[in-house]
Symmetry: C2
Subunit: 655 residues, 2 copies
Amino acid sequence: MTVSEKMMANAIRALSMDAVQAAKSGHPGMPMGMADVATVLFKDFLKFDPAAPKWADRDRFVLSAGHGSMLIYSLLHLTGYDRPNMQDIRDFRQLSSPCAGHPENFKLDGVEATTGPLGQGFAMAVGMAIAERHLNAVFDDGLVDHKTWVIAGDGCLMEAINHEAVGLAGHLQLGRLNVLWDDNDITIDGGTDLSTSEDIPARYRASGWHVVSCDGHDFDDIRRALVEAQDDPRPSLVACKTIIGYGAPTKQGTSATHGAPLGDDEIAGTREALGWEHEPFVVPDDIKAAWLELGKKGQEAHKSWQERLEGHAEKAEFQRRMAGELPDGSAMQAYLADLAADPPKVATRKASEMALGAITAALPDMLGGSADLTGSNNTKTPSTKPLTKDDYSGRYIYYGIREFGMAAAMNGMALHGGIIPYGGTFLVFTDYCRGAMRLSAIQNTRSIYVMTHDSIGLGEDGPTHQPVEHLQSLRAMPNMLVFRPADAIETAECWALAIKNQNGPSTLALTRQGLPPVRHDVDVNHCEKGAYRLKAAEGTKKVALIATGSEVSLALDVAAKLEAAGHGADVISMPCTELFDSQDSAYKDELLGGSGILRVSIEAGTTYGWERYTGLGGLRFGIDSFGASAPIADLFEHFGLTADAITPQIIEKIG
Amino acid sequence: MTVSEKMMANAIRALSMDAVQAAKSGHPGMPMGMADVATVLFKDFLKFDPAAPKWADRDRFVLSAGHGSMLIYSLLHLTGYDRPNMQDIRDFRQLSSPCAGHPENFKLDGVEATTGPLGQGFAMAVGMAIAERHLNAVFDDGLVDHKTWVIAGDGCLMEAINHEAVGLAGHLQLGRLNVLWDDNDITIDGGTDLSTSEDIPARYRASGWHVVSCDGHDFDDIRRALVEAQDDPRPSLVACKTIIGYGAPTKQGTSATHGAPLGDDEIAGTREALGWEHEPFVVPDDIKAAWLELGKKGQEAHKSWQERLEGHAEKAEFQRRMAGELPDGSAMQAYLADLAADPPKVATRKASEMALGAITAALPDMLGGSADLTGSNNTKTPSTKPLTKDDYSGRYIYYGIREFGMAAAMNGMALHGGIIPYGGTFLVFTDYCRGAMRLSAIQNTRSIYVMTHDSIGLGEDGPTHQPVEHLQSLRAMPNMLVFRPADAIETAECWALAIKNQNGPSTLALTRQGLPPVRHDVDVNHCEKGAYRLKAAEGTKKVALIATGSEVSLALDVAAKLEAAGHGADVISMPCTELFDSQDSAYKDELLGGSGILRVSIEAGTTYGWERYTGLGGLRFGIDSFGASAPIADLFEHFGLTADAITPQIIEKIG
């Protein structure tokens, strides 16, 4: 007897409600509502091979409504992925299980992205779809030729970021992106009509999307809609009309099924309503077999793809890129040698452009862009022509005024593989994309944020544009490297480190204003240890000046004044506190230690947090208020960040 | 001879290009492009009285495209506001001038909001329009009955937040909100077609907006469109087709006019093209007189309104609310006394709901909401019925899944006056609305953020939902008070302080999990000094344990173990580091000082920054990685935040 699609879908429903019940927490409503749609997607549309979850040309499937995590755990288990096994599912939401509350890409193959923060899965899928088209254009013979599928809820569509993701996908006409919208009329607070009156399909059409609807519980109708979505050359939104918590006799169709276990009685009633007679965590053999069969389908396609790869002229390069490895080469060393010959006085944003010139020429993986600040962020190079709907081989995206959408798309590209994304905006507008920067850090993506105009040094644009707390607030984020280089050589060194940082994001904080060179040697990448002695005290060391970025040359000026007054002063450049923190204590003590040495930090941002390096007995120079609008020199003077203002305070302190 | 509207508008153009040129930085393109539209708005539509810029029933005008600040400085000067005077405009973008690079509400009357971070002015205007309708419903006789006008650029419309603002305004049918879109086809990177293909009017219509277009350089056509916008019961988008940098002979219509001075030659050419023969910063008398005449028009309306106010039964209450003052009363003291009688073991989010029950009953100014987490943030009380398009008198907004839009709307309400806005989401999603929280801090708005689920203590939802770096990253923000209360009594005290904090925002970080009471006395608001000694050492003091929120009870457990082992330990509750930092050194030294005392911090978040209170010789217990998905007890054990794990490390340290 053939197993019905409904019974296959009910296996998802049962696993979902039982796992949530066992965990005493979780979200059964979405998996139960979207089980039918997901069954059709995995049965007749999605290209995947559970035996090879990292197959480069697999379709990407992103569960943007990440709270419905039991949907993907059920699917991966049923189709035969190595994990999660049934014990993992029984242990849903326990420390021991890879089945976390929200899907985590670093715990399970088959989870393409870490989702939960609403809207971002969708927006990352846009990045995956860009990556797919780009690699399709770059490598011939269809080595990369797949679709990207998303399941998204009302929350994903209501979130701000959705506007940017939809706009970007529509503009780039990402026809292989198909979003299945769980159109169930319910949010946590109740009916969607509590908070929105939007005609969602009309909005999508306004941005160049194709929209089709279906009854999310009618298998043939779902199939019809997915065929239409698949065939349309535009990105598609499939409005799947569903009932949240489908099958739960008294709770279905209400927000009561969204975020809490159904309870024993309701679960018993659901079993009866669905005709599901099996014990919790038991999937009968015939249904399991039907699911496993689906998992086998992709093996054929995978095999034929593998054969094409084996004969492909660019096999090695393709594999290198998909593995995220760097090519051999010395482009950076050659560039550094040139710099050392005649270190220029330039803004570090300009130095970044110069370094990027060398890097993008040597490294085709680099795909850049800016949120409408190309000329200010200095992110475009001669190697990066625009990526457009008419030419996906380009390596530069005009993201528009879409910081959050840009950062999420960058994550999606990095997750897809084959690309090292970088993108720029002003450092202060990390506030606009911080949610995605955090997901870079959680997901271990090599996203590189080029954040210029990194202090009051930007001058006249004033406090809304001048970061004060941003360096420290990004340093506080786990797994994010924040680089603040002091000149052109440090900038190149920091770029090299960001690119080598394969398992996490980096932020480069760069100046608008020109900076004098502070370094002339390039034999060793001094930035690698996060901090180093740039200048040793001439007389007896009394002071250690610790500075970053534009304040390193200021620290050198202060040191000169101190030395002139007979006080020996080290100058320590600290371009990356996180890398410094990870050094052994011998290195740290040698650099910062020494009894009776006054430690002084200088950074044109909040002093909060600098106690870690100066101790409470040290001095901290910075800005603990918002900035102001004025020419740069006036601002540094106003905020007391000049050698004339700082030096006497140090001398007074050392008495 | 009558002064033509074109000549009036050209006065704006001349002041804008000349001020930018003098400052050697700024944005002439937008003011020159929108001068004609702004002239019509101020001449025939905007209700304002330059002699009384704080008149409660004035129309609100928000320049969302804040980089075009010379537009509003010109308008305020020409219509006769006290400031800016011509010297202020000559000193555009200098420290001495209130004419900052971007408009700052705290520097100039008539600037209703600080703008520059794109999209937020528009979204704040939505809040102003909500405030207007609410106060209109609450106070009879039309005491509040005005419009809200916005000038927005392509950037404001492309930004993510625009989606939330548009959705909210459409859902609430804020018909008195009219947005004048500077539809000039240009962004910084070039033509808008570089990055967007959106049919903007169609998107607005999809959200229940009315859309009308006009030629932004044809005065009668502008007038026709504004009449239509004004008369339509829906919020209106007026697409004003303009030429950026209008009048600049070689640069108009290009991004070259956007963000840089035009240059002397181009300015000379513009003078010729516009027929503007006057020296820089000279406005001829007849044109100045025509502008001043406009400024006088509103005086009549103002006078008649003032008469109505004088006779109004609720005059005193209205004035109290618009002044942002608190009423006399002891509701909070009564509530605290009740609490003290039998302090409950509750989550602080629940304690917040209890406090809010008392506060919202006594204080009609409070207008709350949540970004679709009402039942989780515990933000709704019996006094706050929903505010809907059919009943604006409600005091609770179902914001939907719109964190950023909510926070910006809260700023708008606070800026409007008459309302103390509060709104909730999870603490981790401050990342989604941080841009607006920063503008609360810059603008000195009393916005109160109710941020629940404030640590790994939320349990199974896992790392995407568990804040780690958020407390510190918010503490790093100037002028933001971050409160993390330890029990129900501290929660009430912190609420009282947030409400008293008239010139800045507050964030309440609240637990999901239940907490035992740590306080029983309510005579003094101990939270007012930011930190206080909750428990004094019994034996000789060797340790000072400093903790916040849910870790205060943990610190008490640690202290008990230390005392049992013969080590005297203070427990210091530090619900607000910012308030503590502002105490005098005597208080701080007495609380934290003492030679040979080991200082230990315990907070379930990053340890970064705690060196400020423990010194480098102290110990810091926290979480310096992302969290995990598991039941709460397992997580606290996993991350070493138990008395059993902490106590031996302290004992070892004190040897």
